[in-house]
């Protein structure tokens, strides 16, 4: 392994990761600087149940009409994010547990997942370019982030076999992109995953308090009438 690759896999990754963590700490402090919302009414539901439902919403594709009616879109979402998780996992497995990728089945599994994510990435890019509504709201950051993910998936597919003895460039590309990602992500739309739990927590808290979430079905109306408020 060349000194460049060793540096990329270790010190540079750690530096970039530290940078990401530091920026995210500032991001969270930035969010917390905005004053919280204080609810002064008596509850009609449970904030805790609302928060739980809201946070788990993403794992309940039947819960939102927009997702229920776009099952293909939801499937794409799952595949894309599995690919992201696999690629991120690879950045730790390669330098710290390289023996994992000596098992051919594991490598294949990772390559299949990441390849599927790459295809989804291309589909998402095509949708962003072809759908007038999505095109209108898309910013350069939206396109760049998506393109970056597509290239990153491509690099990850080549990198996971971890055969630096035969060719180092796929690993150099993969770890170089990872380092770039770690620095770029906090300033891009990709940091949506940082906002996600906060946004869903607060929405769940408000709507849980009001009894809107979790939704009440007709089944909760018994012969004796709806629940007491």
């Amino acid at each position: 392994m060349s000194p460049l690759l060793r540096l990329l896999e270790n010190e540079i990754q750690l530096c970039a990761l530290s940078f990401l963590v530091i920026v995210y700490v500032f991001r969270i402090l930035w969010i917390l600087r905005f004053r919280p919302y204080r609810e002064r009414t008596q509850p009609a539901g449970s904030e805790r149940r609302g928060i739980t439902y809201s946070l788990l919403n993403i794992s309940m594709p039947w819960s939102m009409e927009s997702v229920r009616m776009n099952r293909g879109f939801y499937l794409q979402f799952v595949i894309f994010h599995l690919g992201v998780a696999a690629a991120i996992a690879a950045t730790f497995i390669i330098p710290y547990s390289p023996e994992v990728f000596r098992v051919r089945a594991v490598v294949l599994l990772f390559q299949v997942i990441i390849s599927a994510a790459l295809v989804v990435g291309l589909m998402r890019l095509s949708r962003r370019l072809r759908n007038p509504a999505v095109r209108l709201i898309s910013t350069p950051d939206d396109y760049f982030s998506l393109l970056l993910m597509i290239v990153y998936f491509g690099a990850a597919i080549l990198a996971v076999p971890n055969r630096y003895s035969s060719a180092e460039w796929p690993l150099i590309l993969f770890f170089g992109l990872t380092a770039f990602f770690l620095v770029y992500v906090p300033f891009s739309k990709i940091s949506h995953y940082l906002y996600y739990p906060f946004a869903r927590y607060l929405l769940g808290k408000t709507l849980g308090h009001r009894g809107v979430l979790p939704p009440k079905g007709a089944k909760e109306g018994t012969d004796f009438g709806p629940l007491e408020k």
């Binding site: 969010i31 919403n57 809107v212 109306g221």
Partner: protein
């Protein structure tokens, strides 16, 4: 010449009308003199004012709704404007929210401040652009919150729309219709400028009519009676245009042997603060109701059938007013549920034989807590109740919400978007569409007329009143 569907609607080019504002200035209205009702000043640095207010008012949920949008565009499929104009990308909720989000990004977000073009961050250039923003937030969105509940990220676009409305209201950059109602509510305490004399006379007339109709002597519509079980607060529409609703309520309360009262002041539970985004107006109007309840030592507040009135009085009002809720505050639907459960009124569903469907008000189903409750009542007072699809939390707006009934300049677009509601109504095959919102009564009335549907709008109180069998015995 036919307008191309992929062009933004003319509504977004509506100019800022200030005739009413000029008149308010000339009349030196109290609310203007005291700085509560804001007027447009073309000489002022409105952009800077807008940015200052934005900085002061953003709270954490709003900041996250600004930051968390990933531009997936799924919201387009939940918005009746976007669905009715599929070739017009400017109807996408994310696009509408982006018109304010880009200012937030330029003003507050790191990337937006350093490389604004990268994330489409931009300050508004002049008052014309603020007027464009006014047309977007007041004219192309009914703040129904349908996109909010359909957003995978939990972005509350409706809250962003209301927030922006509030900023623009502070600058006087508001549609004239919204300004007029704001003015009336500040000046008279109710949104239709009903005088106390008019209010009391109408109540007396309703009581006399009810007495002669039911042949029950001593039926009451008490005003300012202390120590009652509840204070009943109503929509000024019930005084001005539709006293039947108040009569139905009085009739039901009479048979339930209820001890209730209307207040002489603080009787309007509607609240244009919700629509204009003006939290101070919201607090003032809600506080009138809460103070009336305290003054009369009422044990609870009961809110007549009104979507935004319910949301404002039950939920937002206490937060705007800045004090904790001390009294139970409920919709009259919950009062009806209690009467039926306790056997205090007897009903016969055969009295309502027509097929009835129910339209959920956005402010109640998506921003409040009542979905099953009105259905529970309707199943007991109607012989043929049928759901419309989708319904409950997923129902589509009547298209008249959020102050849109007061803004004629946005009416053509509103009625175009109403295509979705019309299709929903038509598919039920019902003859009556019931709603627990006075605003929806007018909104649905417009849809029915425009799309020539064979339907009549009714309210829950009317159907319950018709189904009362106590009347046979006591009347």
């Amino acid at each position: 010449m036919a307008r191309s569907k992929n062009e933004p609607p003319p509504a977004v080019r509506s100019p800022l009308e200030t005739k009413s504002q000029d008149r308010a200035r000339a009349d030196n209205l109290v609310s203007v003199a005291e700085g509560r009702l804001k007027l447009y000043d073309p000489q002022a640095d409105n952009i800077q004012k807008f940015l200052d207010l934005m900085g002061q008012r953003i709270n954490r949920p709003l900041a996250l709704s600004f930051a968390a949008c990933v531009h997936c565009g799924l919201c387009a499929e939940s918005c009746h404007y976007a669905l009715a104009r599929p070739n017009d990308p400017t109807m996408t909720p994310a696009y509408k929210a982006d018109q304010i989000r880009r200012i937030f990004k330029r003003h507050k977000d790191w990337t937006g401040r350093i490389v604004p073009w990268w994330v489409h961050a931009r300050y508004p250039k002049d008052d014309e652009e603020l007027n464009f923003l006014k047309n977007i937030v007041f004219g192309t969105c009914s703040a129904c919150r349908r996109c909010t509940l359909n957003c995978p990220m939990g972005v509350d676009t409706a809250a962003l729309i209301r927030f922006t409305r509030g900023l623009l209201t502070e600058l006087g950059i508001v549609p004239e219709g919204i300004f007029n109602v704001n003015r009336d509510q500040w000046e008279t305490g109710n949104q239709m400028a009903v005088t106390e004399e008019e209010y009391l006379q109408t109540i007396a007339w309703v009581r006399d009519e009810l007495e002669s109709e039911t042949k029950i002597r001593g039926i009451e519509i008490p005003v300012d009676r202390p120590d009652c079980d509840f204070l009943y607060v109503i929509n000024p529409r019930e005084i001005k245009f539709d006293p039947r609703s108040l009569a139905d309520a009085a009739r039901i309360f009479h048979f339930a042997r209820e001890k209730w009262t209307l207040p002489k002041w603080g009787w309007d539970m509607t609240n244009f603060g919700l629509f204009s985004g003006d939290d101070r107006l919201g607090a003032y109007v809600a506080e009138n109701v809460y103070q009336a309840a305290a003054r009369l030592r009422a044990r609870r507040i009961v809110i007549s059938e009104c979507g935004h009135g319910y949301r404002s009085t039950r939920w937002e009002g206490y937060n705007w007013a800045g004090h904790d809720q001390s009294l139970p505050t409920e919709s009259v639907i919950m009062t009806l549920v209690r009467y039926l459960r306790q056997g205090r009124i007897q009903v016969n569903p055969a009295r309502n034989p027509e097929p009835v469907t129910f339209h959920d008000s956005c402010n109640i189903a998506r921003s409040g807590d009542l979905v099953e409750e009105p259905r529970w009542v309707l199943r007991r007072v109607c012989a043929d109740f049928r759901e419309m699809e989708p319904h409950g939390r997923e129902n589509f707006c009547c298209t008249g919400g959020s102050g849109l009934l007061s803004t004629p300049e946005y009416r053509p677009l509103r009625l175009e978007a109403a295509k979705i509601k019309a299709g929903q109504l038509r598919a039920t095959g019902a003859r009556l569409v019931c709603t627990m919102c006075h605003n929806c009564v007018d909104g649905l009335g417009d849809v029915i007329k425009h799309y020539k549907l064979d339907l009549r709008v009714v309210q829950v109180l009317e159907l319950v009143s018709r189904a009362l069998t106590d009347a046979d015995v006591k009347g």
